[in-house]
């Protein structure tokens, strides 16, 4: 019994000793979050909540076994909360460096429509010329 108590105490005390850390960055509208106690001790399968200023949930994610999670940016600014059970959590305010989902909609498309149209025009012109040169002369 004493052993069980001692083991439980050691487990709890190790949780107290470990602070949960958050590392987040974004690239091209995608948010990457890493959560860990120390670098080699990831926060596995931990719940990540992205909250707006009114504490409304924008997104809920779960970390993988490396303590990592990623998602499209839900807003330009939000709070990231990681929960590791036993009431242990860490929170940080995050300001996105790249475009959010909403901003990305208003940006010029990456699809090179001008080049596609030019290519189609060249093909039509080429076959048009070919058709014109190969057509049979009309005999009146």
């Amino acid at each position: 019994m004493f052993r069980v108590w001692l083991l439980s105490f050691l487990c709890i005390s190790s949780l107290w000793a470990h602070k949960i850390n958050l590392f987040a960055y974004d690239e091209e509208g995608k948010l990457y979050v890493q959560s860990y106690f120390t670098k080699s001790s990831p926060c596995k399968q931990c719940v990540l909540k992205l909250l707006d200023d009114n504490q409304k949930e924008l997104l809920v994610l779960k970390t993988d076994d490396d303590g990592k999670a990623s998602a499209k940016l839900p807003a330009a600014e939000f709070s990231i909360v990681v929960e590791a059970g036993m009431g242990h959590q860490s929170q940080t305010h995050y300001v996105a460096q790249s475009h959010t989902k909403e901003e990305a909609k208003t940006l010029p498309s990456d699809t090179p429509w001008d080049k596609i149209l030019l290519g189609l025009a060249i093909i039509v012109f080429f076959f048009g010329v070919l058709y014109w040169t190969k057509r049979k002369p009309r005999h009146i």
Partner: protein
Amino acid sequence: MKVLLASLVCASSLFAHFQTVMTDKSVIEQGSSTKVSINYEFTHPFEQKLMNMEKPKEAGVFLDGKKTSLLNILQAVEKNKLTTWKSEYTIKEPGVYQFYVDPVPYFEPAEEKFIRHQTKTIIDAFGSGEGWDKPIGLKAEIIPLSRPYSLYAGNIFSAQVLFKGKPVPNAEVEVEFYNTKGLKAPNEMYITQVFKADKNGVFHVSLPQEGWWGFAALMDDDEKIKKEGKSYPVELGAVLWLKTEAMK
């Protein structure tokens, strides 16, 4: 004349030379700038008397067992016609980063020896928490036994002195405060504090002020350097810099 010369030699030995590596931040947290500015000086830290520093032989950053050279991005900074150096490094992931420099040995004519201080400082990015007690493989190196980037003024700092990876019994460690506050020492003996390590090369030092502290474990190198046909001994220094903060 001999007395005068002897006095000069004694006087100059009181003013310890320190190679420095200092960063503009010791801890990087989420949301703060990830750009680290690194300054390299050869100086008398308490008296703030600079010496000229040649471009070092090696300068870099150590992370997770791997060294990355910063030598190509070092920039000279002129201060009162003396050269110091600076560089920048952008942190991209959590980790403990050790910034180091191995300078060109400096010839000290008064002591007829070369001085080579292999120097480092350690910072943490995003609470990584691991690696601050890992040697980076310098010939002479101080390994912290106290986490070196989160000490309060007044804390005790413990560390171990290594030479070629092995503890140096009874190593002599000089300690100086990087005195940007204009503090006055009661007398010259207080400028450089001296401590002895135990048989395992372990020493303990209390740090009474907030700011940068330098630790130089000095030893005789097993190599000599030739200058103008004569061989001179080399004072090899394992140097570590850390910053304490005030508890407010």
